[in-house]
């Protein structure tokens, strides 16, 4: 069952029809994955008049709430170029939350296919992650325009930080989507639990408050806070975009960023990869029971 040309039957081996090699199987069937991603993009806002625009309205409205309530009303906007501080973080946070939420629901939502067709079921969480990634594009363009307008110019360390940030969220998001999409088949409670979890994410990262606040309050004991890979990803994004928009980027990086940020990012990426392997193992174990429990 691959996209390769059709061999005469006598030359094909006897195999288990259900054999799928997990995530590797997903990427060996890229054409099917592309169709699923396209389907998901068109289906996510189906029947709505504004359609794809909702993908921008949602993060933008969040941005304005944070900017106005947290920045203006509570007075956190003493941070330089506060809107960019928030927005750069919001992009990765929103990407993660979308992947986690949509990925968790992905198998249940596609049950018509899952129950009647033999295909690697990892397809659905992976497709959810790619759809969320697709929606990141335009937000990134808005961010870039805002950054350039405030005199930001790209630097090598910053760009590798941004790549690392997206790498972390892609891997971690896929791992959690895999884990929770199967769990959600067995108990639909998981999708509700995930929406609550994602609420914590927004406040557990230095998005609406600066990292220095955390360092101050915890008197430097920030190891636990920084053990959160999403917090690392957010800091990496701010290193990439926000730091360059301040008056003295070198000083900002020194004061507002934790030490060894890139190393921390690489460790977070490594931890996310380990979690992805675990998620795949759990998925393979539980997958058997998916069709009958849907």
């Amino acid at each position: 069952m691959t996209d390769t040309e059709h061999l005469p039957v006598s030359e094909q081996p006897l195999v288990e029809p259900s054999a799928s090699n997990g995530l590797l199987g997903v990427f060996s069937r890229r054409y099917l994955l592309r169709l699923l991603v396209r389907r998901e993009i068109s289906a996510r806002y189906q029947g709505s008049f504004l359609g794809l625009l909702w993908s921008y309205i949602n993060p933008l409205s969040q941005f304005f709430i944070y900017w106005f309530i947290m920045g203006k009303l509570i007075g956190l906007d003493k941070t330089e170029t506060y809107p960019i501080h928030v927005f750069a973080a919001l992009i990765v946070v929103h990407f993660f939350v979308e992947t986690f939420n949509a990925g968790t629901r992905s198998i249940v939502r596609n049950k018509a296919l899952v129950k009647k067709m033999a295909l690697p079921r990892e397809m659905f969480p992976v497709a959810s992650m790619l759809v969320s990634l697709f929606h990141v594009g335009p937000q990134l363009i808005i961010l870039l325009i805002a950054c350039l307008a405030t005199g930001w110019s790209p630097d090598l360390v910053g760009m590798s930080a941004a790549l690392l940030a997206f790498g972390i969220v892609m891997v971690l998001g896929t791992a959690l989507a895999l884990l929770f999409s199967t769990a959600n088949v067995f108990f639909r409670d998981f999708s509700s639990a995930v929406s609550i979890l994602t609420n914590f994410v927004r406040f557990g990262v230095p998005m609406i408050y600066p990292y220095t606040l955390v360092a101050d309050r915890f008197r430097g004991h920030t190891d636990l806070y920084l053990a959160n890979p999403i917090a690392d990803a957010v800091l990496l994004m701010q290193r990439a975009f926000w730091v360059g928009t301040t008056n003295d980027p070198a000083a900002t990086a020194l004061v507002h960023m934790p030490d060894h940020l890139l190393t921390r990012g690489l460790i977070a990426l490594g931890a996310s990869l380990v979690l992805l392997v675990i998620a795949q193992l759990v998925f393979t174990r539980l997958e058997n029971k998916i069709p009958e429990r849907l």
Partner: protein, 267 residues
């Protein structure tokens, strides 16, 4: 695995598949059951130590009463499910319909579903594009092609699913009561197409309750009874085993009656 000859198409070896009947689902129900000391779950074997092998090019009629495990067996052969114990092995590409219908996405249009379904069955983009017109011609659903599949009638749904499945270059073709919802001309067309598939040397796995169509299509019958193989052998003996037929089937000289029976007025 190497000890099977080269002409074996499907191996089902000592396969068991159990399902759980669940009494209690919510937190409240589970805690009440635990307090009262009742069983939380109960399992039954949908398939119970089923074994058989199929040679390439054989056409098997899979028969049995409702709930005897026919669809479960087909799902295992198709790879949708894995057996709890035992092995299922197949050779080559598998296509077909499971439980009267295809895996279509209700929100997508017929056209989009054709591409998606073909991709799931292992066809590439070019292959689908090349066969697209033939598929649409066969399905005859006209301008409904661009309407969401969720709005289709059950007949239209089955037509499109069958049309995609028969156009895949498969080595094994599974058909699960495909003809249950089609109208008469379409049933006739499907039978012809399936005969064509059979004659081209592909393995055919045909689930039906209609004795006459099994007799026409198949050269071997497997009867499932409560998840076990009750009979495996010749077509006539298999149908007799099931008592799906009167003692003297030549009672009715009317040709139309014959055709009806052949097309599968479900008993």
């Amino acid at each position: 695995m190497a000890d099977y000859p080269k002409d074996v198409s499907i191996v089902v070896d000592d396969v068991t598949k159990a399902f759980t009947l669940r009494y209690h689902r919510t937190f409240k129900q589970v805690s009440v059951a635990m307090v009262k000391g009742r069983d939380l779950s109960d399992t039954f074997n949908a398939l119970d130590h089923v074994s058989f092998t199929v040679k390439q090019g054989e056409s098997i009629g899979l028969m049995g009463l409702n709930g005897s495990g026919k669809s479960t067996l087909l799902k295992l052969v198709n790879g949708i499910m894995k057996p709890d114990s035992g092995t299922v092995l197949t050779r080559g590409r598998i296509a077909g319909l499971i439980a009267t219908g295809a895996g279509f996405h209700p929100q997508l249009t017929g056209r989009e579903n054709v591409y998606l379904n073909a991709a799931v069955l292992g066809m590439g983009e070019r292959e689908t594009a090349r066969k697209f017109d033939a598929i649409i011609d066969f399905a005859e659903i006209g301008r409904h092609l661009d309407a969401p599949v969720g709005n289709y009638s059950s007949g239209q749904f089955a037509r499109l699913g069958f049309a995609v499945a028969v156009h895949v270059d498969s080595d094994i073709f599974l058909a699960d009561e495909v003809l249950a919802v089609g109208d008469r001309p379409f049933k006739k067309k499907c039978m012809e197409k399936m005969q064509e598939i059979r004659d081209s040397g592909r393995t055919l796995f045909y689930v039906s309750h209609a004795a006459a169509s099994v007799r026409k299509m198949c050269d071997r019958v497997i009867v499932l009874e409560n998840g076990k193989v009750g009979f495996d052998g010749g077509v006539n003996a298999g149908i007799k085993y099931l008592k799906y037929e009167d003692e003297n089937p030549d009672n009715d000289p009317d040709d139309m009656g014959d055709l009806d029976e052949e097309l599968g007025a479900d008993i």
